[in-house]
Structure formats: structure tokens, C-alpha cells
Symmetry: C2
Subunit: 207 residues, 2 copies
């Protein structure tokens, strides 16, 4: 079972690595990071690079497509190379998935037209501009397309997906393996829950 | 504020990338991935590589040391190069932290002797063999040393640390930025919670 994760300049690493750490446990899984050219691909502060081991041109099929998001996704909403590759992967995929603003790329590729989907809470308007209907859930299944909300939601999405691909016991065993028993010290992980002071600080820019 | 994250062959990527995505938002943070030699460092199925941008020999100080774990940590419990570097970083650090079996490396470096600490639930005996007292909590603060439990716990640890380094509102703003509102589809993230069938499957090997 080939799982392909595209990388692009200014992606968000946790969008990709969260689900990666879950899906890598699946029986028969093999995961490949793909980019326009093989080699290291940098995230947004440029402090982290993950190696792409294959070029888009070298990967013509996958069972599971997992598209991460990140600030760089906004620059790629008309990028024919990436969007064309996403469309080709989707044609043959069993599951087509995204995390965070990765759903903007699925939407820009025309895959979410008329469907319910989710994305990072800060990107709802862009998602809807491509004909998707934003749904304020953490993980949204629509046939073979699965979208997840912002950044950290990819872990929840991948566990739900693992149960579909394998079974619930397998997904639970993976959850135990990564000791995913989340205990956030605060309860500020969504706009509905975050204190106004945190929202204001984020709007101004933390750094 | 320099944050250094050492990488080694067969590390677990989420141990490093979870806290990275939190700490990168901190004002004045600069994060560097470090390894014995600069270049890509592979995780355990070898499908993922993160670039080390500096060698241990080039980094002689950091404010925050963040040691990830992974299967490869068990081969490094007598590795003078890595352990010596960890000891040198700890001498000057404001915070010395670990995720998962990264705490075995802190312990092997002699930093946890007589202290309470945590680790992945599967590594408790090794942790205690180095003189630490295992504490079944997700994040354990002991002075400037902070240890976190398995893999995904690094996100919780980093949010708690962000509140200490900056303040609670900053940590909450980061939590909102990464939409960390966890909703695991199952409740199997610790040995106390996982169904026996999942524990049995993991013990046999999922793959």
C-alpha cells in the first residue's frame, strides 16, 4: 500500500509528520515523500527540512494521497504541476486526504466542488471560494476524500483512517504505540475555546 | 533564544516535530537540528529524513535542549559523542527537555540520577536502570529538566514549556495556531486505557 505525501516550499511539518507516524505502522504500508524535485524541502521558518525521495514525475500512482498544508499552499493554488499531480493521484487512489490548508490544494485541484470539507480555521473563506462547504469538524469523510482541520488534527484523522484501512484494533494499537493520550495544559485549541487575549495576540503576531 | 534538537539514526520524527511546531512560534526563538554530521538523518522505517543543519561540534551552547527518542536511542546509551554533547548543552541550558525515549539519553548522560522523570511506557525499566524514578505522568518538570512520555506527548510538553518561557496567553495563542483541540477517535493512548486486544496486537507486532 503506497502512501504518498507531497512536500512544497513553506509546508507545515507537523501536518505531514503527525499522520506519517500513525500510517507508517499499517501492515504493508510504504510511505514516500514527493516534491517537484527530490531533495530537502524547507518549512516556513526554514529551520526544518524533510527530504523528498521522489519527484512528482516519478510517482504515477498511490493508494493513499496525504496532502499537508502550510503557508506555502497559498502560493500554489494555480500551480499546474502540483495540482495536476494531485488530480492524477486522486484518479487511482483509494483514499485522498489532506491536513490543514492542504484541503485548499485539493479544492484548487477541483476535487472538493460541492463537497463538505474542513481546513485550518483561518482558511475557511479560501476553501469555500473553490466550491467546498466548510464543516466545523476536526475530520470530515466524504466518500474517499478525507479532510482534517488545522495542523495537529492530522493525528486524529490518521487514526480514523487507519481504522478504515485496517480495523479498529489496529488503530488502537497504533494509538498506544505513539502514546496518544492527549492532555493539553490549556483549552485554547479552537476559536470557540481560546480566550480573547490569545486570539488577539495571534492576530497581532506572536513573534 | 537558541533551541537545539539533536537527531540520530532511527529517531522518531514526531518526537521532534511535535514540540518544534509549538516552540517555533516563541518570540526570539531560533531552532537548529543538530547531528554528528550535517545532512539528512533517517527515522526507523527510513522513509523520512530531516536535515541536520549543524554538527555537534559546531553547537556549543543552547538555551533549550530538546532530545527526541526513537528506536535508535537504545543504541546510543554508551555513545560518548552524543552523551558528552548533551552534558555540555545541559551545563549552559535554561531548559533541558526530552520526548519519549529521549529521556533514556538524558538518563544515560547522568542527568536524571535521583530525579523523577517519564518516558515511553515501554521503556520504564531502562529509564529506572539509570537511577531515575519513573512517574506515570505525561509531562514531568524537575527544576530545569522536563521529560515527556511517548511520542505525541511532546506537543503537550512544549505547550507547558511555552507558558514557562513566555506566558500562558502566548502558549494559548500557539495552541490556537496549530488548532490543537485533540479529538482522538479512540481512547487507547495509554496501557491503562487500551483494550487488551490492542495491547496484544502491539506486542505481537502490528506490521
Amino acid at each position: 500500500m503506497r502512501i504518498a505525501i507531497p512536500l512544497f516550499d513553506r509546508f507545515t511539518a507537523l501536518d505531514a509528520v503527525g499522520p506519517y507516524e500513525v500510517l507508517k505502522f499499517l501492515p504493508d504500508a510504504e510511505i514516500v515523500f514527493v516534491a517537484e524535485e527530490p531533495g530537502p524541502v524547507r518549512d516556513v521558518p526554514k529551520w526544518l527540512a524533510i527530504s523528498a525521495d521522489a519527484a512528482f514525475a516519478d510517482v504515477d500512482f498511490c493508494d493513499v494521497l496525504l496532502v499537508p498544508g502550510g503557508p506555502g499552499s497559498r502560493s500554489l493554488l494555480q500551480d499546474d504541476k502540483l495540482l495536476g499531480w494531485i488530480r492524477r493521484m486522486h484518479q487511482g487512489s483509494v483514499w485522498t486526504t489532506s491536513v490543514c490548508t492542504g484541503s485548499l490544494l485539493l479544492a484548487a485541484a477541483g476535487l472538493l466542488n460541492g463537497l463538505s470539507a474542513t481546513t485550518h480555521w483561518g482558511a475557511i473563506d479560501v476553501l469555500e471560494s473553490f466550491g467546498a462547504t466548510y464543516t466545523p469538524e476536526r475530520v470530515v469523510f466524504q466518500g474517499k476524500i478525507v479532510t482534517a482541520a488545522g495542523v495537529s488534527s492530522g493525528i486524529d484523522m490518521a487514526l480514523a483512517l487507519a481504522a478504515q484501512i485496517a480495523d479498529r484494533t489496529t488503530a488502537e494499537a497504533i494509538q498506544l504505540a505513539i502514546e496518544y493520550d492527549p492532555q493539553p495544559p490549556f483549552d485554547a485549541g479552537s476559536p470557540a475555546k481560546a480566550p480573547q487575549a490569545a486570539k488577539d495576540l495571534l492576530a497581532r503576531g506572536i513573534r
